[in-house]
């Protein structure tokens, strides 16, 4: 299979580390001059950037956390003035204040290159018709993949996520889509709709899919691959780092190659903050080494994964990371929506007549994630025997959760005592995740 940029993708580890240290040093010089946060962070830790002489010295650099980025809202982490910024994206605000990120001309060009590279790894070429069913918005997924696919020369259908699922399937069929790019949950929805519309996969031209932006299990992959009869590739990225194109699977589908000529990846123990031993699972930490507008030094992603040992059979020398195995915090991803359990709890608290207790159960039914919220009627509420009142309460809890978090939840009523006993000594609210990743 073709290698897009052989010089970089197959460079020796020795050459790569020279390139990385050069780029890391220039990045440090720029963030120290241009970003108040980093000047302060480096000065406060008494780190003179000239003493960062090798990649090993990175361990002395301070971390950047999601919270740092949130407090920088909207532009405080930008290393360039707005007149040099040509694009602005933002992470979704479901987990607090959104994080605003900017791109310079060169950033956009690198981003497109990296996405194009990753599409090529999965076997997409200029002959493909690529349907992008990611939202074209502040979210980096849509436009990120779009520019990369265009750069590759594919025929791009910016289907986005609006409109109904049947239209999306009709486009796939009529426009002869060969490659689908979307969130795995979207792909599942499309697969089911296709089945319900009585369209046989043979009537489609789809041959592969690239899915990302949320963790997905092997069973989901199997169902997508089985229903569409395609090969599914995993993709990893996040808007803080750049968007899609940070890492992705090659044709061997044995781990995701990290684009190490643009990012330095580390795996740390989230408790000690020290490095894990090679191959051990920990928190992914990324440093951007070519970004001009929004450079990040040692950004803690909160994603848990491990690096795979050895060199990939495909010949690329970039290190490989495993699929994301979970979160270091309690962030929940359900139906493509990300939120913290505390947000569910706060919503429940606001509903009149409900006890300040709740239990969150995550499960998989028909290969789709389900969210069940167990609540109890507050003691002393009137008419609790009436079915109608209970139904109303149930509806109002479900509606508030849907309005607040944008996710559909099944609400079940439990005995207050049972709920209290279950929650005893544990962090509120209790989260039970029955899904297998």
């Amino acid at each position: 299979m073709a290698i897009d940029n052989r010089r970089f993708e197959t460079m020796s580890r020795d050459e790569l580390s020279q390139l990385q240290i050069e780029r890391l040093q220039t990045t440090l010089n720029r963030v120290y001059r241009n970003v108040a946060f980093y000047k302060h962070a480096l000065d406060a830790n008494k780190i003179v950037i000239e003493t960062v002489r090798s990649l090993r010295d990175m361990a002395r650099l301070p971390f950047t956390t999601k919270n740092d980025l949130r407090t920088s809202y909207p532009y405080d982490m930008f290393a360039l003035p707005l007149r040099d910024i040509v694009r602005i994206h933002a992470s979704s605000g479901t987990t607090g204040k959104p994080i605003v990120v900017g791109y310079s001309k060169n950033d956009i060009s690198h981003w497109s290159d990296l996405v194009a590279r990753q599409l090529l790894w999965a076997g997409v070429t200029e002959h493909d018709v690529v349907q992008i069913a990611f939202s074209y918005s502040l979210f980096t997924g849509g436009l990120g993949f779009h520019f990369g696919a265009e750069k590759l020369g594919a025929s791009v259908i910016p289907a986005s996520t609006h409109g109904n699922v049947r239209d999306q399937v009709t486009i796939m069929k009529d426009f002869k889509t060969t490659a689908l790019i979307c969130a795995p949950s979207t792909a599942l929805g499309l697969a089911r709709t296709m089945t319900s519309m009585d369209i046989h996969p043979q009537d489609m031209h789809l041959r592969l899919g690239i899915f990302g932006s949320e963790p997905w299990s092997r069973t989901v992959r199997d169902e997508i691959e089985g229903t569409f009869r395609i090969t599914a590739y995993d993709s990893y990225g996040m808007s803080e780092i750049m968007g899609p194109g940070v890492s992705g699977e090659c044709e061997k589908r044995n781990g995701l190659h990290v684009n190490e000529d643009h990012f330095i990846v580390e795996v740390i123990n989230p408790a000690t903050l020290g490095p894990v031993s090679p191959g051990e699972e920990g928190e992914l930490v990324f440093t951007t080494i070519t970004k001009e507008a929004f450079p990040l030094v040692r950004y803690r992603t909160g994603d848990r994964a491990h690096l795979l040992p050895g060199v990939c059979e495909c010949g690329r020398t970039f290190t490989r990371m495993s699929k994301v195995e979970g979160r270091t915090d309690d962030l929940i991803a359900v139906q493509g929506v990300k939120f913290f359990p505390s947000q569910v709890f706060e919503t429940v608290l606001r509903v009149q007549g409900i006890a300040p207790l709740c239990r969150i159960v995550l499960d998989v039914k028909d290969n789709a994630d389900t969210l069940e919220v167990g609540v109890a009627v507050a003691a002393g509420s009137e008419y609790i025997d009436e079915m109608k009142t209970i139904e109303n309460l149930r509806r109002s809890v479900a509606q508030s959760i849907e309005a607040e978090l944008g996710v559909t939840a099944t609400v079940t009523f439990m005995e207050e005592g049972t709920l209290r006993a279950e929650a005893r000594g544990k962090k509120q609210p209790l989260v039970i995740d029955r899904r297998k990743l």
Binding site: L19, I21, T26, E50, D84, S104, S109
Partner: protein, 244 residues
Amino acid sequence: MLRILSLASGYAKLRVLKSVSLHVNPGEIVAVIGANGAGKTTLLRTIAGLVRPWSGDIVFSGASLPGIPAHVVASRGCVLVPEGRQVFAPMTVEENLFLGAYTRFRKRAGASVKSELRRIFELFPVLEQRMGQFAGTLSGGEQQMLAIGRALMAKPSFIMLDEPSMGLAPLVVKEILATISALRVSGCTILVVEQNSRAVLGIADRGYVMETGSIVLEGTAQELLNNTDVQRAYLGKEYQRINE
């Protein structure tokens, strides 16, 4: 070809290079641009062995250079065309050129020196015409050609040029840059330091931007030309925009 890792150097107590890392791949033209006093010349002088590095490493063709005297560095094929030409004014053009082959004379390589001289005259026909003339009487552009020619007499695989366009008329600058591109075609790898950023980025593959002893930006020549900071600071683009 050349790999520099976290190089620091300077003069007496004055630290000029803070922690500079860069590399040049075989067959590349790499440009280092930056304002006066950024440390560009010190960088080249440190590589050439004229200034002793304080820390860091310079690896040329697989061998570490720090500690090796300048004439040995030159005889290994890494030569410097110094800033301001530095031709020997009271000597003839021919004598200047022969001095460039100084490290090889001892090996009694007379014939090869002669053939090298012919090659240089092909590259710079004007030097042949001025062969017997004192170098000091040449024009700036001719002196620059002489300085490059003198460096080529050492049969280098790697040439470092320090401000080759300095003090030259725009047309002559064009000619000199064309010569540098031609050197690459003849198999040389080139590291060129320039203040005339636009001109040098036109012929370079990659570039580094230096600021007060550190590298603040690196990338392909095109990426640097696209960078708005470079445009403002080194290409005078903002100035133009105000005029328009």
